[in-house]
């Protein structure tokens, strides 16, 4: 086993040396980080004559009365917001004062997403696509956070972050292609709808298992930190997925391994039918952050500026200080969980209407815009018409396109085609040739 002094040397001196040569960190934070990381080894030599605790596992004072700490769930971590529900700025110093062009872009992306959602939801109902998940009510969390990142920052998502991809410029054609699993799908038709991915836009392909992306994001952030090219990683997940073991793993790893990572939790009130009071008993997800030694904040997810401000600052500091940040964006899932769900089975129409009508990210931003005369009724009408037309064009194009060739059933299992798979591929084609009238070959590319 390495000598304790060896480890001390590594943590104390080497760590400090690495920090200095990296050259990006504020001096005050330098000491702070070194202190935190080397927590085990910065303690004074063991001295039982002192009254201070000597335990390696915690830095704390003794207490001689028996007291259990009461978790505070009545008045939890406060919710940061910039606008009130009517879109008025509350504290002018918090207005990010984005340009009109930027704000209009926010609005147009949120509404375009909303329009695409409506059309694709309907197309599932009509049997044109197999499945869909809408983003109603959470558009603010997507656009606000995406806007605060660099295009090179890597995004790990769960499945309800299409607005992030839309903000980065993923074409409507590509959204549709994936949902239709047609020959244009970048994913080669292998996954259910809404499992988007884009290498160019640094959006890692979605997978269905929940929370698996959380420790992966920590690993990616660690690799990105070593590259030292001013990149961050953001990891989205819902409050339900935050109950998975992978979430605990990801939080703990990112903190102990000092990763430039933003954890963005969309707390939208439901995990399918399970409300938050059956998901957790503590003060939401933000309260877990300090348990991992992680900087944490709770924001109003329906306030696109609050989301923007928090993400922007978290990103800046995550990269500068190599530590993870946890943002819990409070919001509401206005739509059903998916096209396989009818949420009237477990919540009231009144509850849904409240959020749709009284606290919606799109209307709040619209009020902000109209208050500055940046958006008129005419603008709204013509944008609605234009965005619907764009979506319908992409939709019709995707509908007509053939599906990918069944050859693609067998590729990409490994980087190379294996002899075993090649045999199976040939066997599949022989069979299909023989029984071709039972297989829908005319729907597929050759």
């Amino acid at each position: 086993m390495a000598a304790v002094s060896g480890i001390n040397k590594m943590y104390g001196v080497c760590l400090h040396a690495v920090r200095v040569t990296a050259g990006l960190r504020a001096a005050r934070l330098l000491q702070h980080r070194a202190f935190r990381v080397g927590a085990v080894h910065q303690q004074q030599p063991f001295d039982s004559s002192l009254e201070k605790p000597q335990f390696p596992g915690a830095s704390a004072e003794f207490i001689d009365n028996l007291e259990f700490i009461q978790p505070n769930v009545i008045s939890g971590i406060p919710i940061y917001r910039v606008m009130d529900r009517q879109g008025n700025i509350i504290n002018p110093s918090q207005d990010p004062q984005l340009s009109k062009e930027t704000v209009l872009n926010f609005y147009q992306k949120m509404t375009l997403l909303n329009t695409m959602d409506r059309i694709l939801y309907e197309s599932q109902r009509q049997g044109r696509i197999s499945f869909y998940m809408t983003n109603y009510g959470e558009e603010g969390t997507h656009i606000g956070s995406a806007a605060a990142l660099d295009p090179n920052d890597i995004v790990f998502g769960q499945y309800r972050e299409a607005g992030v991809l839309m903000y980065r410029g993923f074409p409507l054609d590509m959204f549709m292609a994936q949902c239709y699993a047609n020959a244009d799908d970048l994913g080669k038709g292998r996954q259910m709808p809404v499992h988007y991915g884009s290498k160019d836009l640094n959006f890692v392909t979605i997978s269905s298992p929940l929370a698996t992306q959380i420790p992966q994001a920590a690993g990616a952030a660690y690799a990105v930190k070593r590259e030292n090219m001013n990149r961050a990683v953001i990891c989205y997940f819902g409050e339900g997925a935050a109950s998975e073991g992978d979430a605990h793993a990801g939080f703990n790893f990112s903190a102990t391994l000092e990763c430039p990572l933003i954890f963005f939790c969309r707390n939208n009130g439901y995990a399918i039918s399970t409300p938050t009071n059956e998901q957790y008993r503590g003060d939401g997800i933000a309260a877990r952050g300090p348990g991992y030694g992680m900087m944490s904040i709770r924001v109003d997810g329906n306030d696109v500026f609050a989301v923007y401000n928090a993400t922007k600052e978290a990103r800046r500091r995550a990269v500068a200080e190599n530590q993870p940040f946890l943002i819990e964006a409070m919001t509401y899932r206005i739509g059903h969980h998916s096209t396989s769900d009818d949420s009237s089975a477990y919540r009231s129409v009144d509850e849904v209407n409240y959020w749709d009508k009284q606290d919606h990210p799109i209307s709040r931003l619209r009020h902000y815009m109209t208050a500055r005369s940046w958006w008129s009724e005419d603008d709204e009408r013509s944008w609605r018409k234009q965005s619907r037309k764009m979506v319908m064009e992409a939709f019709e194009k995707a509908e007509k396109r053939l599906k990918p060739s069944p050859e693609l059933l067998f590729t990409d299992v490994y980087q190379e085609m294996t002899p075993n798979l090649d045999k199976q591929r040939q066997s599949m084609w022989r069979h299909v040739q023989q029984y071709k009238e039972h297989y829908p070959l005319d729907l597929y590319d050759k």
Binding site: Q191, Q216, A223
Partner: protein, 394 residues
């Protein structure tokens, strides 16, 4: 044999051995030793107290000459050498897992942190699903990620990440993303006293998972070459290291990098009457069985080391069975659903008319891996020998 016995009774540098020291006497146990020596039954060990010799003799391969100068290394040192070569050549390579920083519970990473830095060789929290998930993410971001799971017995929390994520990353993304840069290493197989949770051979669970590769070496030279192949391979790989061989297996191992191809089974000995297939430690059992069969039965055995479990080399095994007409497959893992069943099933499909006897599987029983009953549980040379006899006399 004596050397193996000595290894066996002292135990590997395992979790168990370290824990055994504990108790009230503090670090040096002199109090405990004094008590023990004072006991009247202490001086002679009774039958029940004597521990058994190892069930195999490690058979080193001839010194390889084609890869440059060699050095005497045991299995864990050959792993260290492979990792050292990797860290030296690939600046993105990182090694992580529980206790790897000080050198690892099996000493596979000794010296690497000092040599390459604490950002490249580091401990993670105690969480296998986190280790593998983290490894996947690092690989996706372009780093060469080498994850260590402390014992194969503890890999199961990472099963979801391996099967649902790592194995499917490339396929599900249409080749936009992949974690081919990920290699997972874990100590594997029986060790004499490992019992339920330090002896498992879980390869069959992973054999059922398209998209990953599963590799098991039989020796130090094989281990280094196969591990380097896994690291270079652009698919996520699981590399199981037979822990009983960590110290017991010593060979002359090339110091430079070299690779041994994956998915190519190796015919170690040619024969005409029976094909024997195994991997890892069991190869050494089968080599001895082949000698016994020749001496006592005049039966000529062809011994094949499968090496890669997934994707496995069907052609080499079938070619051999076409020649011999008889197949025996042996592994420590329980027989039902063990990887021998896959080999058996494929071979009977491909070579049905060549078979002179039913395919024989000599494996562990369908029980958890027992502690004190290990000598009865394992597929030892006598069981394999008996199985050959039955096949010859079919």
């Amino acid at each position: 044999m004596a050397a193996a016995a000595r290894f066996f009774t002292r135990g590997a540098h395992s979790k168990l051995s370290l824990v055994a020291v504990g108790g009230g006497g503090g670090a040096h146990c002199s109090f405990g030793a004094a008590l023990l020596n004072a006991s009247p039954t202490c001086n002679s060990r009774t039958k029940t107290q004597r521990r058994h010799a190892a069930h195999f003799t490690f058979q080193p391969d001839p010194v390889p000459t084609q890869y440059g100068p060699t050095q005497k290394m045991n299995l864990f040192q050959s792993i260290t050498s492979a990792l050292d070569n990797t860290l030296a050549a690939d600046p993105t390579a990182v090694i992580f897992g529980e206790d790897v920083a000080f050198g690892g519970v099996f000493r596979c990473t000794v010296g690497l942190r000092d040599k390459y830095g604490k950002d490249r060789v580091f401990n993670t929290p105690l969480c296998e699903q986190g280790i593998v998930g983290f490894g996947i993410g690092a690989a996706v971001a372009g780093a060469t990620a080498i994850a260590e799971i402390q014992f194969a017995d503890y890999i199961y929390p990472a099963f979801d990440q391996i099967v649902n994520e790592a194995a499917k990353y490339r396929y599900r993304s249409g080749n936009l993303f992949d974690c081919g840069n990920l290699t997972i290493r874990a100590p594997w197989g029986c060790v004499g006293h490992g019992s339920l949770y330090h002896s498992q051979s879980p390869e069959a669970f992973f054999a059922h998972c398209p998209g990953i590769k599963v590799v098991i070496p039989r020796s130090p030279v094989q281990a280094k070459g196969l591990l380097l192949s896994c690291i270079a391979d652009q698919n996520p790989c699981i590399f199981f290291e037979p822990k009983i061989l960590y110290r017991a297996a010593v060979e002359q191992v090339p110091m430079e990098s070299y690779t041994i191809p994956l998915s190519q089974a190796e015919v170690l000995e040619e024969g005409s009457d029976v094909t024997l297939v195994a991997w890892g430690t069991q190869i050494h059992v089968l080599r001895e069985v082949a000698n016994m069969a020749q001496e006592k039965l005049g039966v000529s055995c062809e011994v094949i080391d499968l090496q890669t479990i997934l994707p496995w080399d069907v052609d080499t095994v079938c070619k051999s069975v076409v020649k011999t007409g008889r197949l025996l497959i042996s592994h420590e893992a329980p027989i039902t659903g063990g990887f021998a069943s896959e080999i058996s099933s494929t071979v009977q499909e491909e070579c049905f008319l060549n078979l002179e006897a039913p395919i024989s599987r000599v494996c562990g029983y369908d029980t958890p891996f027992p502690h004190i009953f290990e000598p009865f549980y394992i597929p030892d040379k006598w069981k394999c020998f008996e199985a050959i006899k039955k096949m010859i006399n079919f």
